[in-house]
Symmetry: C2
Subunit: 301 residues, 2 copies
């Protein structure tokens, strides 16, 4: 496995691979890798010839009072995970090469970035789309892989690819969870043992919401209330938002429909965690009409 730090070398490598008709897959990360990242890399390994993983803690997607400085960094452990997940290259650029002095160009998706996490984190998604647009230009991947855990990020990138006519296929992969259901996240490392126990309430609440939807509940307010009530049992939890939204507009939906995103952001102590589920009511002709077949709700790309 190669580790490439220089942007020009990364570009040249990717160009040569494409010249040789290799399909290139790209997994952008901020490092502090976990099982969710491993799953993305493994998925890419199965589908493309060359798997490139970027590790870059992107300063422009952090707000002034956020955790850029303390965001976990552990390149040695990351290297091991990427190697054993089967990638070919780690792209590990320096901050001053990605954003040289006088840097001033930004890519922004409007509308959907102002809701949910975008509301609590102004400028966050603009930072994400900018760095991803840059890395797409350098690597020119055929397929890029994102996790559904960061659902809004994935759908914002999807919108950017569509709007800017980027010739890239986006794959959104299911959230990978710990044994107790907590969505894997680099930020879980911030949690104290007590907070770690509280954090499990997030998925518990979403699972209860899932059951409620599968039992026929379609009123978003009621679903949100169920989730809020469960999370309020966790003493260290403070809810940022719980929402039922459409994945294209990210606007609130009064009624839960197939494909709706039930998303939440919750502070556990000082750590802001997010999680979600995409509603999948299969076998039902329309809301509450048939009570026949129902499959489990699944994360869908």
């Amino acid at each position: 496995m190669k580790i490439i730090a220089e942007i020009d070398k990364m570009r040249t490598y990717a160009k040569i691979m494409k010249k040789n008709n290799k399909m290139v897959g790209f997994v952008p990360t901020m490092g502090a890798l976990h099982g969710g990242h491993a799953a993305l890399i493994q998925a890419a390994r199965k589908q493309v010839d060359i798997v490139i993983v970027s590790i870059f803690v992107n300063p422009v997607q952090f707000g002034p009072n956020e955790d850029y400085g303390k965001y976990p960094r552990n390149i040695k452990a990351d290297e091991e995970l990427v190697r054993s997940a089967g990638a070919d290259v780690i792209f590990y650029p320096k901050k001053e090469d990605v954003y040289p002095e006088g840097y001033s160009t930004y890519v922004g998706v409007e509308g959907i970035t102002e809701r949910l996490c975008g509301k609590s984190r102004p400028g966050h998604f603009r930072g994400v789309t900018t760095v991803i647009a840059k890395f797409f230009e350098i690597i020119k991947p055929d397929i890029a892989y994102f996790g559904l855990k960061d659902a809004q990020q994935a759908f914002v990138i999807k919108k950017m690819i569509k709007d800017l006519n980027m010739d890239i296929t986006l794959k959104i992969m299911p959230t990978v969870r710990e044994a107790d259901g907590l969505a894997m996240s680099s930020r879980n490392a911030y949690l104290s043992p007590a907070e770690r126990r509280d954090a499990a309430f997030l998925n518990k609440a979403l699972e209860t919401a899932r059951e409620s939807v599968l039992s026929g509940e379609r009123n978003s307010k009621k679903i949100i209330k169920i989730i809020r009530e469960i999370i309020s049992k966790a003493t260290s939890a403070r809810i940022d938002y719980v929402s039922v939204v459409d994945t294209v507009s990210f606007k609130d939906m009064a009624r839960v429909k197939n494909g709706a995103l039930i998303a939440l952001a919750v502070y556990i102590g000082k750590t802001r965690l997010i999680d979600n589920l995409v509603v999948d009511i299969t076998g039902k002709a329309s809301d509450g009409e048939k009570k026949g077949k129902r499959r489990a709700l699944q994360a869908r790309a």
Copy 2:
């Protein structure tokens, strides 16, 4: 020569050319083509294998009170000019394909877009960089050609290419002028005969400024005063700005240096015209030190 309207067909064509190791040159235009555009196409013809010219009046670069509706459109005449200048393809997309319903992604260069034309035309350059970024994604040219007449546009695109790591070479070509020195522009068609005579004062003023610089004047204020005085002789003229700026930051320069941009925007009646020159004081070690060799100031990329 092909005319391609569909974005997917344009992408496929360009991809096939690149697969066959053809170098692709791209000349983006808004149509209403003139000798300036012809010069860009001819330059491309000499340097690349495949020359693609886009014709698209880009709505998002026009302000609400600007001339989007009345901007000259004449595809038949444009087709003739493009053909005789030697291009291979006209890319002629529909507005609703470039900006489908719900479109919401924008590429913006900050700082330099807020000055000169950007100050008078808020949002203009964001519209330009967005559409150019899109067309670059569709065509993936090796070289893109822009005219120095729209100097700020060219330098903004240059900054976007650099900041977003686009793998594209930018060529900025000299301004092409009418016999009396007026810079060729699609907007010259708006001028009445009297206004057309007044418009010639713009280049006359710039030429006088050039002479003054070559005679040793380095005080920007004095240069600007010379220009303003000459233009004020044109009764239909109303100056928007006359500035001496650095081509990287677009900040005002107190003293004229080699490579400085002397730029102006002037309303002739209701028509807003722009022109400029890039200072080229060759053979001079530093400001006013040697009065030896001096070449004519030339437009430089």
